[in-house]
């Protein structure tokens, strides 16, 4: 800790990082949902590599936080359960990305 470079570390407030999104599995889910309008359970399962139970549990947490919404809609006359980010979820993820990039930028500047 006597390294003088540590004293040059800018202040970083870890509290500003959204812990709900920061968890790796939920981060993967949010990232996939951020680049699409909506996806079904099977697609998310394939993209994130999570098991059904794990995915379901993380989706519940994100839904409780109001970050995602689960809607049933008809695609080509076939019912699909689509999972998508809510506006607040999209905003939260964008904010998380900003915070992380800013935090990483601080360390890279050393």
């Amino acid at each position: 800790m006597n390294d003088p470079s540590y004293s040059r570390l800018p202040a970083f407030n870890a509290e500003s990082i959204d812990r709900l999104i920061h968890e790796p599995a939920r981060l993967s889910i949010m990232a996939v949902l951020y680049v699409v309008e909506g996806a079904d359970f099977l697609f998310l399962e394939g993209q994130t590599g999570l098991t059904k139970g794990n995915l379901s549990s993380h989706l519940s947490k994100l839904e409780s936080a109001g970050y995602i919404e689960i809607t049933k809609e008809f695609v080509e006359r076939i019912p699909h359960t689509l999972i998508g980010l809510t506006p607040s979820g999209r905003e939260a993820f964008a904010g998380y990305l900003r915070e992380m990039k800013s935090a990483l930028g601080r360390f890279e500047s050393l």
């Binding site: 981060l27 990232a31 951020y34 680049v35 996806a39 099977l42 394939g46 059904k52 990305l97």
Partner: protein, 201 residues
């Protein structure tokens, strides 16, 4: 290594999964073959019906084979206002007209004044290519741009050579359909249908 923070990479992976089935290439190939086989009949009806049948074919096949295997995702459409679409179609049509009408002056094409009007029969084809460009833009299927370029290149080359456009289209259609079919078979092998139902978890 896949990083969830690398959004372009996440998007590329999503697009790759959605287009892994090769059905788009298969559909484009079959559509091109239909156009090539029917173009000598001179009916615009075939030409106009082909994109509709193609879209129905790809959607139907995806509903039956792709979505139960890899799931379904609805892509975010890039902003494409009505004004942009009208502008794109108009510019394409105008450029096509200018190109076609100026071709006899700058190349050794033997097109008499009266026959120039025959070139207007290519306008529906230009319109179809424009629709394909809009589709490629909205669905981010970038290999369609390459496909369009090849078709346009073949059209121009066929005007310079004695080989009719029909043969070029037959070749392009056969190659695209065979590639698509091969990718579709590999997709089915790599993604066996899950025992349980899909999506409605």
């Amino acid at each position: 290594m896949n990083s969830p923070l690398d959004l372009p990479q996440v998007e590329r992976r999503v697009l790759a999964t959605l287009n892994e089935d090769g059905l788009l290439d298969l559909g484009l190939g079959l559509g091109t073959l239909v156009i090539a086989l029917t173009m000598n009949h001179g009916s615009i009806v075939y030409l106009a019906m082909t994109p509709v049948l193609l879209a129905m074919f790809v959607r139907g096949m995806r509903r039956r084979f792709t979505y139960p295997r890899v799931g379904f995702a609805k892509l975010k459409s890039p902003p494409m206002t009505r004004v942009k679409i009208i502008a794109l179609v108009s510019v394409t049509l105008i450029l096509t007209m200018i190109t076609l009408l100026s071709v006899p002056r700058v190349t050794p094409f033997k097109v008499s004044g009266g026959d120039q009007w025959l070139l207007f029969s290519y306008l529906p084809a230009a319109l179809i290519l424009t629709i394909a460009m809009i589709f490629a833009h909205r669905h981010k299927v970038f290999n369609i741009y390459g496909y369009i370029l090849i078709v346009v290149g073949c059209f121009l080359h066929s005007r310079l050579s004695p080989v009719p456009l029909q043969y070029y289209l037959l070749l392009i259609g056969a190659v695209a359909a065979a590639t698509g079919l091969g990718r579709f078979i590999i997709f089915l092998k790599n993604h066996p249908k899950p025992d349980t139902g899909h999506s409605d978890e």
